[in-house]
Symmetry: C2
Subunit: 114 residues, 2 copies
């Protein structure tokens, strides 16, 4: 189990939330301005920010009536490492499923022939 | 919108599904043997495999009564690219949120002093 990876990948599984990370990569923004940018209600934006915050990808701080959002200090190191390791697994798989299936079918036809 | 990224990140947001990718990276396996390995019901494993299949990360083929699973041909290229680009954004953010907050507070105290 790795709850941080679970939370981060779930947070990234939404185009708006990925867009928010894009936007915050160019500088901090208030929730109100993010709601404007992504043309959604303040309530909808707050929910997205909460998901990103729980995953540690975004931090927020309230100064007076304005809640300002920025990229979290956590970064995407663990996710990058997981993806990179497994990207190589996909590359290294030396046979397509079709080949295995052909093998099984070949074995079967040998069995029934014997 | 990028539905393939949505589906892939959602598929990766679960420790068992990440474990299945690990396991299939070492070779093909039947759904029954995967259910054994991960100590879950056949129905539970079928659901996980469906999520991975929809994301293109796993392919399955039924030969006789056995459904064999393997890594999909899609790979994790798009996810690796997204994570890598944005990992750099996190690294490049040249100021902590605290700094911005201090700045805002500074501006405010200047305003109220003027």
């Amino acid at each position: 189990m790795d709850p941080p990876l679970d939370l981060a990948f779930a947070a990234l599984a939404d185009a708006t939330r990925r867009g928010i990370i894009d936007r915050l990569g160019r500088g901090h923004a208030s929730i109100t301005s993010l709601a404007d940018t992504f043309q959604m209600t303040l309530t909808g934006m707050k929910k997205h920010i909460q998901v990103l915050e729980r995953a540690g990808l975004v931090v927020t701080q309230k100064v007076g009536r304005v809640r300002t959002c920025g990229l979290g200090k956590r970064g995407l190191e663990a996710e990058a490492e997981w993806i990179e390791t497994h990207r190589k697994l996909f590359e290294a798989r030396f046979e397509a499923l079709d080949d295995i299936i052909s093998e099984i079918e070949q074995e079967r036809s040998n069995d029934s022939a014997s």
